[in-house]
Symmetry: C2
Subunit: 116 residues, 2 copies
Amino acid sequence: MPVTELLPLTDVTACCAPLTREPLGAADAEALAKTLKALADPARLRLISMVAAHDGHEACVCDLIEPLGLSQPTVSHHLKILVDAGLLSRDKRGVWAYYALVPGALDAVAAVFATV
Amino acid sequence: MPVTELLPLTDVTACCAPLTREPLGAADAEALAKTLKALADPARLRLISMVAAHDGHEACVCDLIEPLGLSQPTVSHHLKILVDAGLLSRDKRGVWAYYALVPGALDAVAAVFATV
């Protein structure tokens, strides 16, 4: 199993204070920008929302390909970026991989941008 | 005044339902990805947080250059991207431009990612 499946390259839940509370430092800005780059793609946003809409916030990759209208390698590429960013986790069961929201990851992004 | 200062190219406050409520449609995913691309840069995140930390969520460009350690043309380039994305507004007063958070824009981003 690649190490990126065990240790996200960035940990959004450890970053950052709300943007409106205090100016963001250089290191936090780099980390947050990496997470946002992982999210800033239409296919990846749709994948996250499809996973989130499934029961238990988990979905088989076999259920994600047809609704997106992309090839399986392309979908797997996008899913790997989301796993590396610490937004999704991956669990291989039998022939299929299952992807789940990492608890707290999307809320950590939300907390950075919330002003109220 | 360029039309982009009056009409943001994207309007994040009109997009989207929370990601965990329902699968994101293709058009909403494109719009949200554009907003996130504008945010997904360390210098632009720091600019937003510096503007947000100022009194009234507004700052003179003259106060944004030195803390970032970037040239004025580079800072102006990043600020234009944030204005075009509908995240900041720009007001020229005398020799300086003042940038302010667009009310509701960051909260709209937060609302998309909030799961609770």
